[in-house]
């Protein structure tokens, strides 16, 4: 019986170490994680912040009360409500961030815990083989050790560290996208972006920070990518006109020209501003006519220095459109340049 005692000691030591690990480490992490109360599906803000509401007294309820009392008031009150809404967003965002940290930490901890348990089991079994004398006992422990190692290999294969990292990265990407949307909306008045809109976005911000959501999102994206790769593209005519990528400068110029034309159109509709608008359009026509290629096109449309303002406006828009459809985006850019030069009074 003597040779069995060291073996028993090793096994007892291994099991004790395992129990300590599981009992003292796991609950601390598990306890910390709970979904923020603000997203309790059974209660709305009124339920949470009035009577014996779960969130009374908290800053959340203070901001919510300010928001509720000012949301439908005058312009000044609506500004106060927008401030309160933004404070509520920051408050809940902090809670969601904390939930996310605890959630991801728990996932990482569980992985590390599992690996440590396997380490303890393997080391214990290897030590027991070294200490035990009986051949049969060594054989049995050896088989058991082989089983533990095979299980570990299988688990590692299915839940590799890299895969976990990818999923966490996906969660970070999704969270950043939702947060960017929320931050942009924080500039809007409460009439366009209410606290309930913000709360729905924050709820999405909470859910995109979970493993299941990230897995779904990855599955959907990879599915779409595969579909895109396999998709047979529709064949179109060779006549399809290709337009080059617009540069930032061209885009700014087009936008400025657009604002000018919209203003001129409005001024033409008003008896008082029509003469000035007509004169500006005639100036634009004169500017266009300095370009030989554009002059051909304005003359083809029968435009002259005495043409009606509305006719000039319609012709400019028509010439610019024809230029693009003929694959001459450069001409369209020159027209925009002429419009901006005149409207901005550079000439």
């Amino acid at each position: 019986m003597r040779p069995k005692e060291p073996f028993k000691f090793v096994m007892q030591f291994t099991m004790t170490a395992l129990m300590f690990f599981v009992l003292f480490c796991q609950p601390q992490i598990a306890l910390a994680q709970s979904k923020p109360t603000e997203f309790d599906s059974r209660l709305d803000d009124k339920g949470l912040c009035t009577g014996n509401g779960q969130l009374r007294p908290t800053e959340y309820c203070d901001f919510w009360t300010i928001y509720r009392d000012n949301r439908t008031g005058d312009a000044n009150q609506q500004r106060i409500a927008a401030d309160a809404r933004n404070e509520l967003i920051k408050y809940v965002r902090g809670r969601v961030d904390r939930f996310y940290e605890e959630y991801t930490n728990k996932k990482k901890f569980n992985r590390n815990l599992l690996q440590t348990i396997f380490d303890i089991l393997e080391i214990g079994a290897a030590a027991a083989i070294g200490i035990t004398n009986g051949e049969r006992a060594k054989e049995v422990i050896g088989i058991a050790l082989g089983g533990v190692q095979a299980t570990r290999t299988s688990l590692n294969k299915n839940f590799e560290l890299l895969q976990t990292r990818i999923i966490i990265n996906k969660m970070r990407e999704n969270r950043a996208q939702v947060l960017a949307r929320i931050v942009v909306n924080m500039r809007k008045p409460v009439a366009d972006y209410s606290w309930l809109d913000a709360k729905n976005d924050l709820r999405e911000f909470l859910y995109v920070g979970t493993f299941n959501n990230a897995m779904d999102s990855l599955a959907a994206e990879t599915g779409d990518a595969a579909q895109n790769a396999e998709q047979t593209l529709r064949i179109v005519s060779n006549d399809l006109v290709e337009v080059p990528e617009t540069t930032a400068a061209q885009a700014v110029m087009a936008s400025a020209a657009q604002r000018g034309l919209v203003q001129l159109e409005q001024n033409l509709a008003n008896d008082q501003t029509r003469p000035e608008a007509t004169q500006t359009l005639r100036n634009i026509l004169a500017e266009l006519n300095q370009d030989a290629e554009l002059r051909q096109r304005t003359e083809a449309r029968g435009l002259s220095a005495t043409s009606d303002g509305a006719a000039i406006l319609a012709a400019i828009i028509g010439i610019r459109r024809e230029a693009v459809l003929a694959g001459r985006s450069d001409l369209a850019s020159r027209i925009n340049q002429a419009i901006v030069a005149v409207v901005n009074g550079d000439n």
Binding site: N228, L233, R234, N238, L240, V243, Q250, Q258, R320, V324
Partner: protein, 100 residues
Amino acid sequence: MSETIHTIGFPSSMSSIKALEQTCNTNEINLNSKLKSLDTVQKPGGKKVTEAIFVEQVSPAGLGQLTVRKTTANDGATFKGKAFILTQPVDVSVFRTQSM
């Protein structure tokens, strides 16, 4: 009255979604037409292009104010389409912001 449709192609080498947004907005203005759809297509010779279909407008007001983003679920886009970005097909969502 039937709509007047204009179809043009954007190069598959489009450098980014932001560049696609600029190109869509500039062409809305230059064509005086509203962008209706974006799709990935191929010419008979095999050349890939992004097909953009526009609907002609009478007034220039409200054009050139599009935001283009990579599609996400339930993003409330005005319309969804596909476009080549750096020669790769990408699902995009197009949003029309408030008119001027």
